[in-house]
Every structure is written in structure tokens, then in C-alpha cells.
């Protein structure tokens, strides 16, 4: 923001909202990383930590809620300010959802503690987790720097996450068909993958918000989407068809 507001405390409030959102983002980043790490390393302690830390994310979200409401009521922001306040509200709610998914992954990690892993699924999930975490990191960078280029890039990134999700979906289906004993594990892994994919979607949402903050318009709705799991069916030959 090149120009300062005439009312200094208004500037301070806007900065505070932004900072709190960033703090929340940082927390959520850690949550993603830790939940995936806990899963892959069967680290119950770390999984427990993720579940506990989610409380902090929730508290931050409600604080951001209060602050944005206060700003809306007292300052009646317009134009860029209005967009940034509204976006902070939306971003915080997206981040909160991401945090919830991380927590969900940790819960499943605890269930899966004693089950032996199959195939390459866990590695794929780890890769997916890293990608999502990077997306969140990038989107937060885009948010602080009001960087339209990075934000738009993230919109493309989501495609990749979707592809991995598709692949994983197919893979896990195969495992389940091979051995019904794998079903518990695979179902949980499927949901974990789903959670990660949803996280990616939320990160994309945030990127859209950043785009809106900067330009004042919503990005066009023809961004690439590759999540095709909703159309997949299991065929006799174990092949999925689009």
C-alpha cells in the first residue's frame, strides 16, 4: 500500500489483520508438513501435536473474524481496503479448513499406527503433501506481496495435485481389489489423499482471493482442473475409465 491512510490506526488495523492471517498461514503450513510426516513415519507423538495445535489455528481464525468485523463496522472500508478485509476473512476460513484436514489426517494416522503400509501410496501421499504445503507457502507469499504472477501460478499448480490424486485413487482401488484385507488401510489413505486434494483446492481459493484483492475482479473460471475421481468407475479389468 503505497499511500497511508489519513487515520493511522486504520492502517494499523489493516496491517494487523494481514499479519494475523500470515501467522495463521504459517501455523497451517507446519500443520500440513507435520501431519504428513507423522503419517509417513508412523509418528504418533507428532500426530498428537498436530491435533492439539489445531486449537491454536481455530483461535486465530476467530480472532481474525472479530478484528475484520470490528474494522468493517468502524471504518466502513471501501475499494481496496474493503477487498483486503473481506479476503482476510475468507482466507482465514480457508486456512482453518486446511487446518481441519491436517487434523483429520493426524486422526487417521493414529488409526493406521499398527497397519503395515502397502505399495508406494505413502510416498505418493508425502509428495502430495509437500506440493500442497508449497502451494500454501506460495499463496501466502503472493498474499503479502500482492503478487499476481505467483497467485496465478498456483491456480495452475492445483492441476498437478489433482493428477496425483487421480493416480493415487486408481492405485488404491487396485490394492483393494487385490486384497480385501487392504481395504481399511486403503480407505483411510484414500481419505487422506482426498484431504490433501481439498487442501490444494482451498489454497487455490486463497489464490483467487489474492487475485481479487489485487485486481478487483475474480479470475476467469477456465483454470485447468484435473480431479476426475468423481467420474471414475471400477471395471472388471481393474482399469479406470474416464
Amino acid at each position: 500500500m503505497e499511500n497511508e491512510h489519513i487515520v493511522k490506526s486504520y492502517d494499523e488495523e489493516l496491517t494487523q489483520i494481514e499479519n494475523m492471517t500470515l501467522v495463521m498461514g504459517g501455523l497451517v503450513e507446519t500443520q500440513i508438513l507435520e501431519s504428513v510426516t507423522a503419517l509417513c513415519n508412523h509418528d504418533q507423538k507428532l500426530a498428537e501435536k498436530v491435533r492439539v495445535d489445531d486449537k491454536a489455528v481455530d483461535v486465530l481464525e476467530s480472532q481474525i473474524n472479530d478484528l475484520t468485523l470490528r474494522t468493517l463496522a468502524l471504518r466502513q472500508p471501501l475499494a481496496m481496503d474493503l477487498r483486503s478485509v473481506i479476503c482476510a476473512l475468507k482466507i482465514s476460513s480457508n486456512l482453518e479448513r486446511i487446518g481441519d484436514y491436517a487434523k483429520n489426517i493426524s486422526k487417521r494416522t493414529q488409526v493406521l499406527a499398527d497397519i503395515r503400509s502397502v505399495g508406494t501410496a505413502e510416498r505418493t501421499i508425502k509428495r502430495m503433501g509437500e506440493m500442497v504445503r508449497k502451494m500454501v507457502t506460495d499463496v501466502l507469499n503472493a498474499y503479502i506481496n500482492k503478487d499476481l504472477a505467483i497467485a496465478d501460478e498456483i491456480l495452475l499448480c492445483d492441476e498437478e495435485v489433482d493428477y496425483i490424486h487421480n493416480t493415487l485413487f486408481r492405485e488404491l482401488l487396485t490394492y483393494m481389489m487385490e486384497n480385501p484385507g487392504n481395504i481399511t488401510l486403503c480407505m483411510h489413505l484414500l481419505f487422506i489423499a482426498r484431504n490433501l486434494e481439498r487442501m490444494g483446492d482451498h489454497a487455490t481459493c486463497i489464490a483467487e482471493q489474492v487475485h481479487y484483492v489485487v485486481t478487483g475482479s475474480v479470475p476467469e473460471e477456465n483454470r485447468p482442473k484435473a480431479d476426475k475421481t468423481s467420474q471414475m468407475i471400477v471395471e472388471e479389468n481393474c482399469e479406470s475409465k474416464e
Binding site: N3, E4, H5, Q76, L78, A79, L82, R83
Partner: protein, 261 residues
């Protein structure tokens, strides 16, 4: 988005082309091209001294009174040039009424306040007709129920908001096409402001309203189109929702967000 953004609305009623206004040697407005859509509310916003009131006063030639004021360029009302030599200023002002910043009812009875306009324009033939106009104008201004039993009491005895609505009733009594409002709520408390805004909302079905206001929120609430003026220039004109969420010009942005521009 209420309307497209190129702002030559098809149903233009008032249109200014290359309007420059000078007070003596000082130029107050620079090359203003503004089209105002019929039966809509257009808000003119901008910092003090940006020329928005000056432009408003050009629309009914109230600036004629100021000897040093000179208006160049053309302003048309329904396609007719209002500065044409055969234009009668009195008829122009009947068609383009005005409501001022401070409620300024005449120090006469409520009835006479409303009846004055129709009387001087010879709009009525009988007392009954005049009564009808008074009643209708007061009703339309949402004031009838409050003053119906004290029409003979002085208009100056009403509260601020009532006085302003009385002034609006007085303006609509002469059946204008356009009503110019120069900061109509700046002297009113929030409740009275709300009643006047509600009134503006209702009036826009029958009249074209151009309102100058310092309250961004008010402009956002009541108007469909907003024009932003800065240092005598028309910076941006567009649908109100666009101007207030995503203005195109940085000066507009700075002004409406309260930044030091």
C-alpha cells in the same frame, strides 16, 4: 453490476460536453463530459473544492447569479442546449429543481412553502387544485402524515429532517424532471438522513436525481452511478458498485479509502 461501464447510457437526460467553468480567472472545472441517465440516482463525489457543486449548479444555471462565473461547452437537457438564447431560465429551473445543503424552507406556513412554486408558475387554476398538489407533494415526500394537521404552521418549526423533506416536497411540487441535491443530508442527524435517503430511493422511479455528497457510504447506498471529481476534473464515472469496490483510477481509490492522495 447495474450497468455497463462506458457511460453513455441510452436514456441520457442531462449531458455535458466539454464543459469548462471559470470563476473570474480561476478555472473550476476542466472539460467535463458527463452523461446522466434518466430516472436514476447519480452521485457526484470528491474532495471539497473539486467542482462537483459547481457542476451541479450548472445544470439549472444557478451559476448565472454569480457575475464572475463563466460556463463554456454545452449542457443539454433532453437534447436541448440549456444555454441556448431562447431558453427561459425560469422554465429550466422548474424542470430542474434543487435541494440545498441546509434545509431552507421559506419562513412561511408549510402550505405556502409547497404552494409557492405552483403559484408563481401559474400551474393551478383553482384553490382545490393547489390543495391537491400540496397534498400530493407532501405525500410523495413522506411528510403528509406528519404535517397534515398543521399545514398553516410555519415550515421553520419542523425538525431538520422534516424541513429537508419539506424542501424536497417543495421542489417536486413544480413537477420537475430532474432534482439536484447539494449535500442534502450534511446538516441532518443519522435518523433524519435515513428518512431522506429512503425518500430518494422512492423518488428515483419518477425523477432523475443528481446528488452531491461527502458521505461515501451515502453515495454507495442511494446512487446507481457515481462520478468522482478531483481538482476540477471528472476522474471516473461508472456504476456505483464498481466505483466503491474496484475503482479504476488511483485518485478515486485514494479518496474513497481515505488515503493521503
Amino acid at each position: 453490476m447495474i450497468e455497463n461501464n462506458d457511460f453513455a447510457p441510452e436514456n441520457t437526460i442531462i449531458s455535458s460536453k466539454n464543459v469548462d467553468v471559470f470563476y473570474g480567472d480561476k478555472q473550476a472545472l476542466f472539460d467535463i463530459n458527463l452523461n446522466v441517465a434518466e430516472n436514476s440516482v447519480t452521485a457526484l463525489i470528491g474532495p471539497s473544492g473539486c467542482g462537483k457543486s459547481t457542476l451541479l449548479r450548472c445544470f439549472n444555471r444557478m451559476n448565472d447569479v454569480i457575475p464572475i462565473c463563466r460556463v463554456d461547452g454545452s449542457i443539454t437537457l433532453g437534447g436541448q442546449d440549456i444555454h441556448a438564447p431562447n431558453v427561459d431560465v425560469v422554465s429550466l429551473r422548474q424542470k430542474v429543481g434543487m435541494v440545498f445543503q441546509k434545509p431552507n424552507p421559506f419562513p412561511k406556513s408549510i402550505y405556502d412553502n409547497i404552494a409557492y412554486g405552483p403559484r408563481i408558475h401559474g400551474m393551478t387554476a383553482s384553490k382545490a387544485e393547489l390543495d391537491e398538489i400540496v397534498e400530493e407533494s407532501l405525500k410523495r415526500a413522506g411528510l403528509w402524515n406528519e404535517v397534515m394537521d398543521r399545514l398553516d404552521k410555519p415550515g421553520t418549526g419542523l425538525s431538520g429532517g422534516q424541513q429537508q423533506r419539506l424542501c424536497i416536497a417543495r421542489a417536486i411540487a413544480v413537477k420537475p424532471k430532474v432534482i439536484l441535491m447539494d449535500e442534502p443530508c450534511s446538516a441532518l442527524d443519522p435518523i433524519a438522513t435515513a428518512t431522506v435517503e429512503e425518500l430518494i430511493d422512492e423518488l428515483r422511479e419518477r425523477f432523475t436525481i443528481i446528488i452531491v455528497t461527502h458521505s461515501m457510504q451515502q453515495a454507495a447506498r442511494v446512487s446507481m452511478h457515481t462520478a468522482f471529481f478531483h481538482l476540477g476534473n471528472l476522474v471516473e464515472h461508472g456504476a456505483t458498485s464498481d466505483i466503491f469496490t474496484a475503482p479504476k483510477d488511483e485518485r478515486t481509490q485514494n479518496y474513497i479509502t481515505g488515503r493521503i492522495g
